[in-house]
Amino acid sequence: MSAGIKAMSVKQTVAKSRAEIFGNIRRGLGRKGNSGEASAEQKQAVQNRLNAQADNLIPQRAQLPHDEQVELFKAMATEAVAELIELDNIALVPQACADWLKTRHIDQLISASSSEINSLDWSPLLNADVDRVERVAQAGDIASLTSSFAGIAETGTLMLHSGPDSPTTLNFLPDNHLVILRRSTIVGVYEEAWKKVRAAFGGTESGLTLPRTVNMITGPSRSADIEQKLQMGAHGPKTLVIFLIND
């Protein structure tokens, strides 16, 4: 009973707060439409702005031919302390994983289950005595492998998103995060990546509905909270390895 009354009171608090907040804002803005709201024209102007999805200023830096965008991506990702491994085609990823893990005496790879990853021949891992396990990440996991949605040259940034075959924990919990990035998915600036996102998830009746999370990742985890001296490997992965597929 008492819980019910309390729940009501929280609900009432929210409703009262909402009314007061909007009342204050509308009064402050001098809204003159129906019951003190914005006018139809004002509402339409905002709707138009939302629908336009217009770019703001886009810096020159990454407005380059694609080959140079790839070079910029490589330079910026390396500057952000990502480890870059270039491969001629995606079929070489399992061997590259095996080599990288073996050198570091890591015997388990927690893997996303995207079709891109699952269609590869993973026997090189077996030969190197490394287990590939498809699941979400858990505390204590040493290494993970995921695909990526795009690379952004401007700052050497990877874009990934959640989905049934790409659990988000893989991007954050293990000590080492290995990521496959196809050369063709590298774009110049963030805005181009958003266009790809819109193409993949937009066009529904209610406009753009994003996956639960979109992650932009630029290098491995770090902190400068102790005396402003930068230390690598705070809570996220200590190492970020990008397999850049030059196909």
């Binding site: 402050g28 803005l29 709201e37 703001n56 810096p59 979109v214 001296k229 809570h235």
Partner: protein
């Protein structure tokens, strides 16, 4: 958090005598401004980005009701919940209620200044829910029972030894003075907390109206573990953080990292758009956004509306000579530095916060580095006027200004007085030309000599120039 703002003078005095604090503040002055300058020099369009950032935020504030409605509708469509909180008390009540529904024992927290503002940690603890700060700096402070002294580098007032001591005491491990070892320790200890937490609370740097998304920006990845692992994710943020589209958010992301840490981009920029989708194997099952007002809605349509543009980058305090001399705790509440001097009087009242807008050299550096060009000195003057009009200024200030006004309105008297004062001060200073002690001027002369006026008064010089036919 206890309000100590009225004691700014005493706290600033102590801070300047505190050798450890002064050493720690040296790290700030050596670090952030230089890194920002380099990042800005690598982005030739930075000035134009600042102009666009200012204009876009102005557009949002002119339409704040409409963008908030759109954001709310889209969060709900994504399967999330939106809660409105007029005051800190309202926000705390709402958050505790969600925690109780989940029978939460522990709550992990990403870095959030709004939760500092509303005093969430104390409230949760008093009501049987244990909050665990996970940002390294915030974690150190929580162990020490301390509060942030900076909005993005919360533990900047501490030295390595303070951290080593706190970890040794709480982790029961051998004491280390290697920052790498200390960070690894925090990583290991907090890992279990991340996994065990029932609820994860983060802030938001921006709320995207178009998609109903919140975004957090972190270098450590703690915010991501905080919001991905528990069953429930609560975003606690404030109403002015809304932006129209993903493209608009992008404009601010380009400004934010460069202005804050001088990075090209922060390591993790993470968008959250509701609870886990069908088929998702991880992520929270419940997604809540608590939108806190706490005096912001009253700023709309006033001179203070400009302050709602603030994106909490900390560039103003990083470049402020006052902040650099006295540190964040002197300000006595949550928000320090120039942005705090404008925001604090709005949130705790000018009666308590009046000291802060007075503690400024008005050098204007803050405005010159602000990514959204907030006229911070102008807004501090606004509060000083407000304080004066409400007769809250100290008597000495009020009588002093009244006396000056009396003279200034009577030119003959004014000229006579200033001529006499100049003559007197020159005599008082003697041959050295410096006044070491003078009645009523102890506030200055106790600390440094006052140079005596040289030559003639301004009015005398002006008259002579006019006579000589020179252009003034």
């Amino acid at each position: 958090m206890q309000i100590n703002t009225p004691f700014f003078k005493e706290r600033a005095h102590d801070a300047m005598e505190d050798k450890n604090l002064q050493r720690a503040l040296g790290n700030l002055k050596a670090g952030f401004p230089e890194k920002r300058a380099i990042a800005v020099s690598r982005m030739p369009e930075f000035e134009e980005l600042r102009n666009q950032g200012r204009d876009l935020k102005n557009h949002v504030m002119e339409n704040l009701d409409l963008y908030l409605e759109q954001f709310e509708a889209k969060v709900i469509e994504n399967g999330g919940h939106v809660h409105w909180a007029r005051t800190s008390e309202d926000a705390n009540k709402i958050i505790l209620d969600i925690c109780k529904q989940e029978n939460a024992k522990t709550v992990t927290k990403g870095k959030s200044m709004v939760t500092e503002e509303i005093g969430l940690n104390d409230y949760l603890e008093q009501n049987g829910v244990q909050p665990v700060e996970t940002d390294l700096g915030e974690y150190i402070l929580q162990l020490r029972g301390d509060h942030p002294s900076h909005i993005i580098a919360p533990a900047i007032h501490l030295n390595l030894d303070d951290v080593a001591e706190a970890f040794h005491e709480h982790h029961k491990r051998p004491k280390s003075d290697d920052p790498a070892v200390l960070m690894q320790e925090a990583r290991e200890v907090l890992r279990d907390k991340f996994v065990a937490a029932d609820v994860g609370i983060t802030g938001a740097n921006f709320c995207v109206a178009e998609t109903g998304s919140t975004i957090i920006v972190t270098n450590e990845g703690n915010g991501d573990l905080t919001q991905t692992l528990p069953k429930t994710h609560i975003v606690v943020t404030s109403i002015e953080k809304v932006v129209p589209t993903l493209e608009d958010m992008t404009l601010f992301l380009r400004l934010l990292a460069r202005s804050a840490t001088g990075q090209e981009f922060t390591v993790y920029n993470t968008l959250s758009s509701g609870p886990r989708r069908e088929g998702d194997q991880d992520g929270p099952e419940n997604f809540h956004v608590v939108l806190v007002d706490n005096g912001r809605s009253e700023m709309v349509g006033t001179e203070l509306q400009d302050m709602l543009r603030c994106i909490r980058c900390s560039a103003c305090m990083n470049h402020c000579p006052v902040y650099g001399a006295v540190g964040g705790h002197s300000y006595g509440w949550v928000y320090p530095g120039p942005m705090g001097s404008v925001l604090t009087p709005q949130m705790i009242g000018i009666e308590k916060g009046g000291m802060l807008p007075n503690a400024s050299t008005f050098c204007g550096k803050c405005e010159s580095v602000c990514p959204v060009k907030i006229p911070l000195p102008k807004l501090m003057r606004h509060w000083r006027e407000d304080e004066f009009e409400k007769h809250l200024s100290p008597k000495a200030v009020r009588y002093g200004i009244a006396g000056w006004a009396f003279l200034a309105k009577r030119p003959v008297l004014y000229k006579t007085y200033t001529r006499m004062a100049t003559w007197f001060m020159k005599r008082w200073a003697g041959k050295k030309g410096k006044i070491e002690k003078m009645p009523l001027a102890g506030g200055w002369t106790d600390w440094r000599d006052m140079p005596a006026p040289q030559g003639k008064t301004f009015m005398q010089s002006w008259k002579e120039q006019q006579k000589a036919g020179e252009q003034p």
